[in-house]
Subunit: 214 residues, 2 copies
């Protein structure tokens, strides 16, 4: 059975690499793939374990329960997001450039990994409780960054002065999030970041910075 062989070989080779601590990574990678394909509730812990090449019980050495896998998935992804984002935003001259960069970054990073995108755009939104957690802790920080850029732009006169920065930030996030979800749902394999210039034009229009489209 070649298929199972591949899994085993893969499992062992990775184990050989750094047996102990990237086992957690392996579990998260396996969970990403399985949950993206079947959905969170239809994915049993057993199939995640099988794909990761570990026993069912091993999962519980690394995660308190099934839900914590989902949380960790998001935390890891957001960590990478922020890491890649920080420096790219730092050296930019003005709020217009920064907002453009945010659009580009958001679409590029979401567009990088479809399985992960399915999780962030669909599976992660499972329950009110869950969404609240994420929303408050993690996305809140991201919204804060956008709001900061909006405030900067308004102060410098590049954007409309009468903006509520937080409301505008939510609107910007809404646009980006919808683009991401739409891309996930459309099975065509376009590149998400290809839309960035046009989306940036829309978003800049929203805050009152009237540049030409792209």
């Amino acid at each position: 059975m070649p298929w199972q062989w591949l899994l085993l070989v893969n499992g062992y080779s990775m184990m050989a690499r750094r047996s102990s601590e990237d086992k957690k990574e392996r579990i998260l990678d396996a969970a990403t793939v399985e949950i993206a394909r079947r959905g969170y509730h239809q994915t049993s812990v057993a199939v995640i374990a099988r794909r990761a090449g570990v026993a069912d019980g091993t999962i519980y050495l690394y995660f308190k329960n099934k839900e914590e896998i989902l949380v960790s998935l998001f935390t890891r992804a957001l960590g990478r997001f922020i890491a890649q984002g920080k420096d790219k935003l730092a050296g930019l001259p003005d709020a217009v450039a920064k907002l453009r960069a945010i659009v580009d970054l958001h679409l590029t990073l979401v567009g990088q990994d479809r399985d992960l995108a399915i999780i962030t755009q669909v599976e992660l939104r499972h329950s009110l409780h869950f969404l609240e957690e994420l929303s408050r802790a993690q996305v809140g920080e991201y919204l804060g960054v956008i709001a900061g850029v909006v405030a900067e732009g308004a102060a410098s006169g590049l954007f409309r002065r009468d903006l509520d920065p937080m409301l505008a930030a939510k609107a910007v996030f809404g646009v980006l999030d919808e683009m991401a979800t739409d891309w996930v749902l459309s099975r065509r394999n376009t590149r998400l970041e290809a839309k960035a210039p046009e989306v940036a034009a829309l978003v800049l229009g929203m805050v009152g910075a009237n540049g030409p489209a792209a």
Copy 2:
């Protein structure tokens, strides 16, 4: 036990009214409340039945299975949405007024019933399969209406002429959807439609119609 009494009394009085066909309505109403509070997967068919004042098995005389309850919930809500929307949009003079009306209507209708809003903004997005269904069939029509307004505005010179109507429509929807979700997640009991003028200003800016902010 006064609480259970109330349920029974309520149940029977409604049964008396038009026993046969609003039983389906009763089940949907019960499902709305229970699913909004506990989430879809934590809500058993039994508790929906109990709140509706029917037996478990009765549910299956009206719905093929549990998932169909959720689908019907959405279909019913969207039906009302469209019904209320059609005439309000009809008599409006130009694309700016129409877009304003869409913003107002969307926020007003979502803001009308928090339980229903929890379902549309959170519980309905449970699985890729599910979202795809909804997205394609139902929301697609709504997006089409918005895109039509955008195209009209672009043609008449009120909006930017270089807009891709469908992309702009998705952006508009993204803004509205994010406002709705944000309202659902924030426990404060503000009125969602209070934000309509400010949101409309953002949305109009996005399509290049530069009016003053409300």
